[in-house]
């Protein structure tokens, strides 16, 4: 945004929107993203988080529309990653290099690695409070959500949670709040969860349980990307609960690539077989669909069906790219099956099965491989494999 938005009396959203970014470290951001930062005015003025390095001036301009940046007393860094602290040293020159930057214990290590000796850092303890005058801020360590340094800052009187990357969405648009953007926010939030947080689902469950047990009231959630949840923060918390349980729907995703269309033809037949049992199926060609969109579909799919031609005794490189990505995000409790065509040596299915086992997936079919071009009998086998996959999905859901 090019002007600050007052989100509560004396609390402003002062971050920047990155309208142009379409590739966020390998995550497709069709609607850009935002780097949110928040200014709290009190007896002590506080800035929570900064922005990507190249947006430093825009952040300072936004702050200057409310107060002189030099009047900020304390800066809080909830997360070291460079989209939130890249501008830190530039911004601190304007605020005052001697002013304190508060962060978590791991934040201290990580910020020191990025900016050795350039910041006056102090690590806060988990649960530590900071009195600003009328307001009190409390710090919550949230390691691995999604970096070791991640923490939340909670404004106690206003019941506002500044949640760093958690609950974020890569979205730069004309909306600043959940009630403005509407239902669409959940599609963005789901993609964010699938691609950034899925592998830390156990930690998310732990956090949600401890937040519930502590009785923490939350009127508003301010993440570091995308819109602020002011109308219904409970809705995104409920979604995080659902996603972190890794609950799947009756759905299969067929991830495939093809060289001379044989594996593509097989993929369609497998899909027909799955669909014949009224189980949802998505066909995703790895050169047509972005890996981060595939991951979003994988998040709630019970079965992963992967088709790859054999190329030079291995799996197709683009399929390998997507599989490596999925593996790192650690989807749990999934079913899997492989298929693919080959010319003279057909290792792909065997390699895929090994990968499924490494991902602790239940391989429910030995796999189908077809030399050169599938014949009618091969297509029947593909259809039949699809049916078996669907039946297993129904049986286990």
């Amino acid at each position: 945004m090019f002007k600050p938005v007052e989100i509560a009396p004396g609390i402003y959203s002062v971050g920047c929107r990155d309208w142009d970014i379409r590739d966020f470290h390998g995550y497709s951001t069709y609607e850009g993203t935002s780097y949110n930062a928040f200014l709290i005015l009190d007896e002590k003025n506080v800035l929570i988080d900064t922005v990507k390095k190249e947006f430093a001036q825009e952040l300072l301009d936004n702050i200057s529309k409310i107060i002189d940046p030099a009047d900020i007393d304390v800066v809080i860094s909830n997360h070291t990653e460079m989209d939130h602290s890249g501008a830190l040293t530039t911004v601190m020159k304007r605020i005052g290099s001697d002013k304190t930057v508060l962060c978590s214990k791991m934040g201290l290590k990580n910020l020191n690695s990025h900016f050795p000796g350039k910041l006056n850092l102090r690590a806060v303890e988990n649960g530590e409070e900071l009195c600003l005058g009328k307001r009190t801020l409390a710090f919550m360590e949230t390691r691995m959500l999604h970096w070791p340094d991640s923490m939340f800052t909670y404004a106690k009187e206003d019941k506002i949670l500044f949640s760093s990357d958690a609950f974020g969405q890569h979205y730069a648009g004309d909306c600043a709040f959940d009630d403005e953007i509407g239902e669409r926010v959940m599609d963005h939030a789901a993609k964010y969860y699938a691609n950034i947080l899925l592998n830390y689902s156990t930690k998310v469950q732990g956090l949600l349980t401890s937040v519930q047990a502590s009785g923490l009231e939350i009127n508003m959630i301010c993440p570091d990307h995308g819109v602020i949840f002011r109308k219904d923060p409970g809705a995104i918390i409920a979604k995080y609960d659902q996603w972190s349980r890794q609950e799947c729907s009756r759905k299969a995703v067929i991830i495939f690539d093809t060289m001379w269309k044989s594996t593509a033809v097989m993929a369609r037949e497998v899909a027909k077989g799955i669909e014949s049992r009224d189980v949802h199926v998505r066909l995703m060609n790895t050169r047509k669909c972005h890996r981060s969109d595939i991951m979003t579909e994988v998040m709630d799919a019970k079965a992963l069906v992967v088709g790859s031609p054999t190329l030079n005794n291995g799996i197709f490189p683009v399929v390998a790219d997507v599989l490596t990505y999925i593996k790192g995000l650690r989807p749990q409790n999934r079913l899997a099956a492989a298929f693919g065509s080959y010319g003279w040596s057909g290792e792909a299915v065997k390699i895929l099965n090994r990968e499924f086992e490494a991902m602790k997936m239940e391989v429910i079919h030995e796999g189908l491989k077809v030399q050169y071009v599938p014949e009618p009998g091969d297509l029947e086998n593909c259809f039949s494999m699809g049916k078996d996959i669907a039946d297993k999905i129904i049986e286990t859901s």
């Binding site: 791991m106 390691r143 691995m144 592998n199 830390y200 930690k203």
Partner: protein, 52 residues
């Protein structure tokens, strides 16, 4: 025997071992196989820090 902490907050306690991954109680961190990784976040042994 010392405990070791992963960047993700997991602490390897030799008194407990890591039963789920086949590490018996009483195994020193130094004696863990090189293939052992953090059961929570997957980080390798070299990223762990010794706790006092």
């Amino acid at each position: 025997m010392s405990k070791y902490e992963c960047p993700c907050d997991y602490v390897y306690d030799p008194a407990e071992g890591d039963f789920e991954n086949g590490i018996e109680a009483g195994t020193a961190f130094e004696d863990l196989p090189d293939s052992w990784v953090c059961p929570l976040c997957g980080a390798e042994k070299e990223f762990f820090e010794k706790l006092d």
